[in-house]
């Protein structure tokens, strides 16, 4: 039920983000979702792409530091309070969200949120127990 995200270390200077997207674009890789965490010195670009292996390889070839991380994609009812219900369910189990960001595409009537937890398995179980729909990676990559 986990989704593979690739993370890229980029220095906080002009053109680096453009360089990453250019490399991916030229390799024919489609970005499905992204988030950028930034500090004054560096940023961490997190991506869900349609071809993780290829993205990983082309970026490494160009000298970027890349890592893979397991994240969880959850369908969120697209109405006020939809996200809140999910977060409350997690909080009841004392599960901490490291970070989260929204997916570009919708899944039917619902939005999709990507979560990074410190305890991934426990989080997935809590979500399923509460009747939330956790999306499989293969489904997401091709959405």
């Amino acid at each position: 039920m986990q989704v593979e995200q690739i993370s890229i270390f980029i220095e906080n200077k002009s053109g680096r983000l453009a360089e990453v997207t250019r490399i991916l674009g030229e390799a024919g890789i489609n970005i499905r979702a992204l988030s950028l965490a930034d500090t004054s010195d560096f940023g961490i670009l997190r991506l869900i792409v349609n071809d993780r292996e290829k993205a990983n390889n082309v970026l490494k070839e160009k000298g970027f530091t890349v890592s893979k991380t397991e994240v969880v994609a959850v369908e969120v009812p697209d109405r006020p309070g939809g996200l809140s219900e999910i977060l409350l369910a997690l909080d009841r189990k004392s599960i901490n969200v490291e970070y989260m960001y929204a997916f570009v595409e919708r899944c039917g009537e619902n939005a999709v949120i990507i979560f990074r937890f410190d305890e991934t398995e426990k989080a997935i179980n809590a979500l399923l127990d509460n009747g939330f729909n956790v999306l499989a990676g293969e489904r997401l990559y091709s959405m």
Binding site: E11, T39, R46, G63
Partner: protein, 434 residues
Amino acid sequence: MFNEEFETLPRPALEALQLKRLKAMVERVYSRVPFYRQSLDKAGIKPEQVTSLADLQRLPFTCKQDMRDSYPYGLFAAKMEDIVRIHASSGTTGKPTVVGYTRKDIDTWSELMARSFVAAGAHKGDIIHNSYGYGLFTGGLGAHYGAEKLGASVIPMSGGNTKKQIMIMKDFGSTVLTCTPSYSLYMAEAAREEGIDFKELNLRVGIFGAEPWSDSMRSEIEAKLNLSAIDIYGLSEIMGPGVAIECQEAKQGLHIWEDHFIPEIIDPDSGAVLPPGVKGELVITTITKEGIPLLRYRTRDITSITYEPCVCGRTHARISRMSGRSDDMLIIRGVNVFPSQIESILMGIEGVEPHYLLIVDRKENLDILEVQVEVDENIFSDEVKHLQALSHTIEKEIKDLLGITCKVRLVEPKTIMRSEGKAKRVIDNRTIDS
């Protein structure tokens, strides 16, 4: 050993030989080199007044500036027609320093380099891959002649063209590598990119010098290149590589070939000679050189000396590995900082590569030290807090050990310039203004 008789000479015999040679050397420079006649006269010493090794302390120092002032041949003590080789050190400021060798000097150098190869664990039959630069720099030809004297097969690679170096190392079956320690790691990185594992190569011994390096860097090199890494010391003013070498048996300090050089450790400020075990500036007197003999040459290298017997059986004193140079020492907010100290701290933190750069600035009359560290897969995390924790750990360790506050900046791999010779570790922007 290459020359067991001389390498294991009992200390009394060694010191008697030193005194005999020192006397002859002082005579030689006094009669042949106007600079030394003047400086000895000024110090009020005549050559015949040198009657014991303790008298060495009364002789004046020679500094790099004296060599620059005598540019190019002013300090030569042999006729130009007897000089068979000329080398020069890279002049980082102004003119280079020029050295000349007679036939006998080349023979001596070759022997000392051959002794050094054997001490490091090399022998006849080895294939020595020599990546020290050939040219005015003494490294390439110095190691080359020593390797031939030893009877090994020497590959005169010189520096640069790293891909080809690795191909030749692999195809030619090189067993011994000579280069700078930073270049060895550069090679390891390049080999990895080529998909070549050093474990598949025949390399057994690496002899690294021409820049200070730490014991933690040694572990790194030994692991990555799968060989025994030996520290070698030398400088063109004194001879070139092979002035001192670690023995493979102990790897505890570098034996300095005392039948040709007399080492002293001095306080760089007062010039006073320091006792064994105390860190100070290394001063060397050459006692057999003909081309350009130097009395009490100030190397600016910081080390200490021990005369304790070594497990290898050599009786020659050992100098500790260089902890820096008195002239590349940074003074940051009044604190003395050697780049090698920061390197040791970085290498002690798990996963951190020795690719770093120190940038010193002065803002509002305050020195600012920035330490740039490359982020590779071992330390990268998708979470900001982990990377920030790493920066803070490095900052704290530097603060704890050196007492200075610095800023750690994480940078992308290979943003710090790799040199194929000496690594550039420090950018001191403060000197631009002054």
